[in-house]
Symmetry: C2
Subunit: 625 residues, 2 copies
């Protein structure tokens, strides 16, 4: 059974209806014109949602267009980012971009009106275009607004129907239901057609409704071209104690008879002659300027600013402490800052984020086993000024790779911690071993990748990370290893530590994390054989300490060995090779090169050829002895 909002008695005056009709027509006309001028884009996917967006921007979106950074504004996220012609047409209607810019800027090199929205535009919170991401990110924004800032603002998310096939959407729908995010409305533009034909559910509106309701949402089905029904649906959402899905049955290409409901028109700009005809049919170019209500006054209850004194945890040199534990300690210390929030994917007792949860439960959000949603929520929380940390096993961040990639496009500032790395974890076996995480994180544009070997450096790096921009990643180790450094030592990002060495070293051993400890043990073995080893702690994998690496190569006559508990591609070894790329230095690279299995850490490090004995043997060979 389908519940449809029917407006038996209209609440919109004729004049207002006329304004909305005109606005919707303008959004259609401009969507067609902009994409035709660009020669590419998605007019048909814009036209299906034009009525939905016209009513929203004119009557329900509480937004101060002159002050897009105001924390009081509603948020509008186009999860279906390919409908950018519609979004940018709304910006023209709001008067924040000109018609000329829309016509000459869309999809053009050097202009901010890109093919898919990015926060290069001040009215855009996050980059979309990889489908299935806008709603999960909105859940993070909604959590911040409802649970931390406690403001009456509302989240409006325009979703495509095709993207409802992405599991990430159901992670978001699940979490929004779980947290009863009453400030969140998903507007699903059910236009029946995906890129290459009909969607899975086509116009089975009742199926959509049952699915949302099963995840504890309020769901309402409307005709997405009935301005009254749209208005009434929007009007109701603020009074509902749960998230609302407005399931709008729409027609792709609505308004253009030759395009309407035609599968072949996905993602195609109209040719100029057809576009001209279409614009004429839609009543020609308009230059309406429409703004809706301003946000309610208020003050965020959350304090998304750095406040509070952070006191680093301290450790005793030689004590065995796991870096994952030190990470938890440092996170608790960071908790003194009220902008720090923490997200877990149901492994907080392993990653030690639960240490934070115990002390700061209000700034801790459990995402259960939903890594995509965890990272998306982090991106959403930083939209509202928080410093979100998200932690899971390093291997399981691969689940959220696309979200991390897109976070970089959003130029989001997020903080990720991956534990249980490499074969070092032992008996659990390869499914739980992070062996490609450095590669994944290094290849994120503008990222920082840190991999401390001991508790002191780990805590120091966590404290620095929180003030950095972009995607920041710290890799922590499962097992406990000796504290190497004195409390208070400095570990600048981009630096390194020479933990062993002299002015006349025979060979350089470069490691990080567990392999640094193995390098140190190898250096002891080598010393017994009269070979002097320089040992370098490359705790900063990206940016890497290029100078120290080069100096180690120079000082040892080019006898460099790099050792990592990671697959050989894209990890510490290749970072070192890149640092030395313009030098003529041979590098010997020890890494995990066969499929690991279960065993104890020593057995597995030995089998991978990255234990102290393997390192020492390699060094002897490199040193020619």
């Amino acid at each position: 059974m389908t519940t449809t909002v029917r407006c038996e008695t209209t609440t919109l005056a004729d004049e207002e209806m006329q304004r909305l009709r005109e606005l919707a027509a303008q959004l259609r006309v401009d969507s067609v014109r902009a994409s035709t001028a660009a020669g590419s884009g998605h007019p048909s996917s814009s036209l299906s949602a034009a009525d939905l967006m016209a009513v929203l921007m004119a009557r329900h979106l509480r937004y101060d267009w002159d002050n897009p950074d105001s924390p009081l504004n509603d948020h509008l996220i186009f999860s279906k980012g390919h409908a950018s012609p519609l979004l940018y047409s709304m910006f023209k209607a709001a008067g924040v971009i000109s018609d000329e810019e829309l016509m000459n800027g869309y999809r053009r090199f050097g202009n901010w009106l890109q093919g898919h929205p990015t926060p290069a535009l001040p009215w855009v919170d996050v980059a979309t275009g990889s489908l299935g991401q806008g709603l999960p990110i909105a859940v993070g924004v909604a959590l911040a607004a409802q649970c931390l800032d406690q403001l009456p603002l509302h989240l409006w998310v325009l979703c495509g129907d095709s993207e409802m096939a992405e599991g990430s959407m159901w992670e978001a729908i699940d979490k929004a239901g779980y947290y009863r995010l009453r400030n969140l409305t998903a507007i699903v533009d059910v236009n029946r057609l995906g890129q290459r034909g009909p969607t899975e559910l086509e116009w089975d509106m009742d199926a959509y409704r049952r699915r949302f309701e099963a995840f504890d949402w309020h769901a309402v089905v409307i005709d997405g071209h009935d301005l009254h029904a749209i208005d009434e649906a929007y009007r109701q959402v603020r009074g509902i104690d749960r998230p609302t899905a407005i399931l709008a049955r729409t027609i792709k290409g609505k308004g253009l008879p030759q395009v309407e409901n035609e599968a072949s028109w996905h993602g195609k700009a109209l040719p100029p002659d057809l576009a001209e005809k279409a614009v004429a049919e839609l009543g020609g170019v308009r230059n309406l300027r429409v703004r809706g209500p301003l946000p309610e006054p208020g003050t965020p209850a959350g304090a998304a600013t750095a406040g509070g004194q952070v006191t680093l945890p301290t450790y005793k040199k030689g004590d065995k402490v796991a870096t994952r534990k030190a990470f938890g300690d440092a996170l608790v210390a960071l908790g003194a800052r009220t902008d720090v929030v923490v997200l877990d994917a149901e492994v907080g007792n392993s990653t030690h984020t639960l240490d934070f949860a115990e002390k700061y439960p209000d700034r801790f959000f459990q995402m259960f086993i939903a890594e995509q949603q965890m990272v998306a929520a982090a991106v959403g929380l930083q939209v509202r000024g928080y410093r979100p940390w998200a932690a899971t096993f390093a291997a399981f961040f691969t689940r959220a790779h696309d979200f991390i990639r897109m976070a970089a496009v959003s130029q989001a500032d997020i903080y990720l911690a991956g534990s249980h790395v490499g074969v070092e974890i032992g008996p659990d076996g390869p499914s739980q071993m992070g062996l490609e995480d450095i590669s994944m994180m290094r290849a994120i544009l503008g990222s920082t990748v840190l991999y401390p070997s001991d508790a002191v450096s780990c805590a120091a790096l966590v404290t620095q990370m929180v003030d950095r921009e972009g995607v920041n990643y710290i890799r922590t180790t499962r097992g406990s290893y000796p504290v190497l450094y004195d409390n208070g030592e400095s570990f600048p990002v981009g630096g390194s530590k020479q933990v062993r060495g002299s002015d006349s070293d025979d060979v350089a051993l470069l490691g990080a994390g567990v392999t640094l400890h193995n390098c140190l043990a190898a250096a002891d073995l080598l010393a017994d054989a009269g070979i002097r080893a320089r040992v370098l702690d490359l705790y900063s994998v990206k940016p890497i300490d290029r100078e120290a690496v080069r100096e180690a190569a120079r000082a040892t006559g080019g006898r460099v060995i790099v050792v990592e508990d990671h697959y050989p591609e894209g990890g510490l070894g290749e970072a070192v090779l890149s640092a030395l790329s313009e030098q003529a230095v041979p590098v010997t690279h020890l890494a995990v090169r066969t499929l690991p299995a279960s065993g104890n850490p020593d057995e597995l490090l030995k089998a991978a050829g990255i234990d102290a004995i393997a390192i020492a043997e390699t060094a002897r060979s490199v040193a020619g002895r």
Copy 2:
């Protein structure tokens, strides 16, 4: 409202009940003993499902334990792979491993009874342990069995309740409903407790039921410790025209009063004294040998063997053809082999998999926009001997990274094609640009990574890929570029082509895909300036043609420039650096180093510094002129 199967009149004779009770007790006892002997593992998560698995293996799983490779067998997949003690205890009960091996092998180095199941064991189809993967993979197996092989076998998937938070599970549930996989049963072990505390839904069985039903499954709620109810639920599933979810309310640690329903016992082996007491309470060690029914006789209707003559498409040298188009052509050619199947994530008109769909609709499966499910289905299809190809935009394979990673642990043979790579795609902007895919795919253990520059080499590589083992990836380009090679030329995986050069070259330009064309154009510019450039087509990124790269370095006196339309980390450049790591050769590396935006391809290649002019300028500088 909860539907509960109630067995008012028992259909199980007392004797059979006694056998099942004994078997369940044995599985419990052995799960405790094995994990205690190993000193780690998940006994509590095994005990909750012991009754479910006892009834399944004794009465419903149609499986020839002496012939695990039989295509007629039912499949049993532990999506909750951490319950491996239970699975291995079942293997003991079936008589395929000994009690001694279970006690001394579990989680031990060199033994196949790893912490999480892998197909090193002949009774295991795929590796699990990254939660949320077993059910999506099972959908692929079920598609093969139902739609291709058309056999009456059944898929039984033991799922955890915690993993129901993974979006990938809902992608699987959605697709199983869409394809009406009546041969698929998900047994959800709702034991209420996750790793660090209660699950989202705890024992809200009705919520689970509503969710499955909303996705068009048959769902039934049972007491997961009531042997009659379990038996009756299993008995019914084969008669239902849809996938069935058996939602079993269970108690974690069931059978051990001190462990039952206690959050603190997740993932912990019992200490030996407690284990001894527990075993005694459960009635002591048993050595029951229990096997259930054998599979029905039959013959697979699908022919998962290489048959049919593949005739490569041909192209005219100099014609402009996109490699994504050549990929589609080659896939159609491969279609002559009846083991070739193709999966799409709703972009088949862009990746050109729809060309295959038109000719071979029965071997084409639309997964809609669900990249995790697409890759999981590929893994499932290869379980039954097919050669599955899955294609989407290269950037969107990041969505499935964890599934690709686990495919390597499964030692699965799958074939992935990523289109729309690099800034070359132009106006759509960075959300659609594959700029980290080479890095991701290189770091998959045992992977093959290919990146052809023209149509002839692309088709030749596709044809070779299909007979390779492991995870195979081909990267195709959006735009059309000249055909460079003669039809019939050979492009061995691991090889390269010198497309320009002599015995006395001044500089070596190494490229692949679009940058190879830019290298060729740069070589023309350099020739005008009297600089002789050798140009190498590194179409095989992994394995790379180490010898050719080294020879190019040697021949040019170490003046090597590598150019890629990809971020600098983990891609072609670092592959070249690794190939040269033990030589002392400087390498100049041109790659995409800033966030791209929209524009036309030429503008974006220029802005990234990887167009012909930038390459030529760099070469002049490297050559010192």
